[in-house]
């Protein structure tokens, strides 16, 4: 049996399908275990945004995971004799208004910011996606109701909704996450609904129905995997957004409260000293910006990749 590299350009001369023999078997397999291995080999062919983004995300995650062991100082350790020190050998990024090590605070603060953003995003993505798919499948009154609710929520900026909820429910990590999730599920519901409507009209869903598969099975095994890559890409864009929102809420004093601190509250704390120690504002701002950028780039890359592969 011949090995044909690309099944789309089968050579009839070597492929016995041209002989028309029924007892003979047809279709040489391109290469053993093809796609999975090829996917890894194609690492170089990945778009630059995916590679750069993944590298950035990986770096941030590793640094934050290693923080308890690698942070040079206790983030709460005050040294009032050494306030607002410039970057130096002992304190790499200097100290803040209470003489605390900025680098250590940045590392510990990142754990709060990133974790809260990730939990929020997971909750709103899962909830929004399921709701969107259920809406697309059932249509009717439920669909109408959910979509109108999401219209109302979308009419206000996410920040306003989250601020409103936090001020009603009171501060705290639980309410912060809840508020952000309530404000953030709508784009997922809308995207998932649109994707589900589109995928539902594709032929393989009909074929799955013709084999008597139950509805939930078709949704989980055929609908969701096909909606996954645009949803993941959207989630990554939202992650940057959520990170900034968490930071902004903390900046306004509605998010992470002392003694804990995250990037947003560091920004707020450093604001009065901006003229004397600009680093207090620049570093947390830069951390938020770069983390959001890395995740967004990776998401863009994910969205580009399967389209290219699909054409092969």
């Amino acid at each position: 049996m011949s090995r044909v590299e690309n099944p789309a350009v089968d050579n009839p001369a070597v492929d016995n399908r041209a002989s028309g023999a029924l007892d003979g078997t047809v279709g040489a397999v391109p290469s053993p275990g093809a796609s999975r291995i090829r996917g890894l080999r194609r690492l170089r062919a990945w778009p630059w945004s995916l590679r750069l983004g993944l590298f950035g995300v990986l770096a941030v995650v590793l640094v934050l995971l290693a923080t308890p062991w690698s942070a040079p100082f206790d983030p709460a350790l005050q040294d009032l004799s050494n306030r607002l020190a410039p970057p130096g050998v002992v304190h790499w990024l200097g100290t803040d208004q209470l003489g605390r090590d900025v680098l250590s605070r940045l590392m510990w603060g990142g754990r709060f910011s990133v974790t809260i953003a990730a939990i929020t995003l997971t909750i709103s993505a899962v909830f929004g996606t399921l709701l969107g798919i259920v809406c697309a499948r059932t249509k009717g009154a439920l669909d109408e109701f959910v979509m109108r609710v999401s219209d109302v929520l979308l009419a206000f900026p996410e920040m306003i909704v989250a601020m409103f909820l936090v001020s009603i429910l009171g501060a705290g990590y639980g309410t912060l996450i809840l508020a952000l999730a309530v404000a953030g599920w709508t784009p997922f519901a809308r995207l998932a609904r649109a994707l589900a409507l589109e995928i539902d009209s594709r032929d393989f869903i009909e074929a799955a129905g013709s084999l008597g598969f139950p509805r939930t099975f078709i949704i989980l095994r055929h609908l969701l995997p096909n909606a996954f890559s645009p949803l993941l890409a959207h989630a990554s864009v939202r992650f940057g957004h959520t990170l900034i929102t968490v930071g902004a809420l903390s900046f306004l004093g509605l998010g992470v409260a002392p003694p804990d601190s995250d990037w947003g509250s560091m920004l707020a704390d450093g604001l009065p000293y901006m003229s004397r120690a600009a680093g207090l504002v620049i570093y947390p701002g830069l951390a938020i910006f770069l983390t959001a950028l890395a995740v967004t780039l990776a998401g863009r890359g994910i969205n580009v990749r399967p389209r290219r592969q699909g054409r092969s």
């Binding site: 099944p7 003979g24 084999l211 598969f213 139950p214």
Partner: protein
């Protein structure tokens, strides 16, 4: 001997109430081990008939029938839950665009395993072994490796073989093939037809073969039913239909399929437009395109009423045209 599949008086309406039905009192039987072909041009209701049997009509379609029976199962009144046990296990389907019928995100092996695990309740490893068997059974080389392929890596012919493997996984009594070879080239088409015929012989299942191509149908079907504008206009054995078609529409179809050039070198086409037939509210729907009607001075009759399907010529051969009935009563 009871028929494997019985449809009687199947009517399907789509769109606003009162609009002419898509299917109009379609009746058809398929015996055990028999392959019956449903032939007609696009929009004649062939696929609709097939989808009605699966109870997979598009939302908004209204379906009525006197009976739809699959052996001793009442398909017409089965609940949706019962239907899920009937689909795939008792009746399964092949489609026109095999590559688009496979989920692009799952491997071939995973997809063929799904009906096995869901409908037959096999374990993961049992299902895997059976998948390899099934793939080898439909003539796919190196089934172990092929099971790891994705839909976009398959050619159309292989994809249709995979679909056949999936359709046969539940060992159905009836296979509905909705133009399974239309998207394939001729050599692959011949192989797929042979494969279906071989499976029929081996498993003893019946098949309803939907096609617009008389040539394809003639090689595989035992009987042919010709559809026009939602009605069956002629029914008979393959031999009868091809050699002595009675209904003017069938005659025209057979003439088209012959591909014999006219005097001026052009190929024969049926005059007029099939879509126009939908607007005809009474009388024969084919009459505006029919030559027999004017030749035999039947205009009045054809305009007033379309006859029921009635026997003509030999046993089992029936047609729905005044001219054939006239001949019969006269002879």
């Amino acid at each position: 001997m009871t028929d494997t599949l019985t449809i009687s008086g199947l009517t399907v309406e789509l769109g606003p109430f009162g609009s002419p039905p898509i299917l109009d009192r379609v009746s058809l039987t398929v015996g055990p081990g028999e392959i019956v072909a449903l032939v007609g041009e696009s929009g004649s209701g062939k696929s609709m008939t097939a989808m009605s049997l699966m109870r997979l009509l598009p939302p908004g379609a209204r379906m009525r029938a006197d009976a739809i029976r699959l052996g001793d199962i009442d398909v017409l009144h089965a609940s949706e839950h019962e239907m899920n046990h009937i689909r795939g296990a008792r009746i399964s389907m092949l489609f026109q665009q095999p590559k688009r019928m496979l989920d692009p995100t799952a491997t071939v092996g995973a997809q063929v395993a799904e009906p096995l695990r869901l409908c037959l309740g096999l374990s993961r490893s049992q299902a895997h072994a059976r998948v390899i068997e099934l793939l080898a059974d439909v003539g796919i080389a190196e089934p172990e490796r092929r099971a790891h392929s994705y839909a976009h890596q398959l050619s159309g012919g292989i994809a249709q073989r995979v679909m056949i493997a999936m359709a046969l996984a539940g060992q159905p009594d009836v296979l509905i093939a909705d133009e399974p070879t239309t998207a394939l080239d001729v050599t692959v088409e011949a192989q797929i037809l042979q494969l279906i015929a071989a499976k029929r012989a081996k498993l003893g299942m019946s098949a309803l073969f939907v096609s617009h191509d008389l040539g394809v149908v003639s090689s595989i079907a035992d009987r042919i039913a010709v559809m026009y504008a939602g009605r069956i206009v002629e029914e008979g054995t393959t031999r009868e239909i091809l050699h002595s078609p009675q209904h003017p529409y069938t005659k025209a179809l057979v003439k088209c399929a012959m591909l014999e050039p006219e005097e001026d070198g052009s190929l024969y086409t049926i005059p007029g437009d099939a879509n126009a037939a939908r607007a005809v509210s009474h009388g024969c729907r084919f009459r505006s395109r029919c030559l027999v009607c004017t030749d035999e001075h039947l205009e009045q009759k054809c305009e007033n009423e379309e006859p029921e399907l009635a026997g003509c010529g030999r046993a089992g051969h029936s047609s729905r045209c005044w001219s054939t009935i006239e001949t019969r009563t006269a002879g």
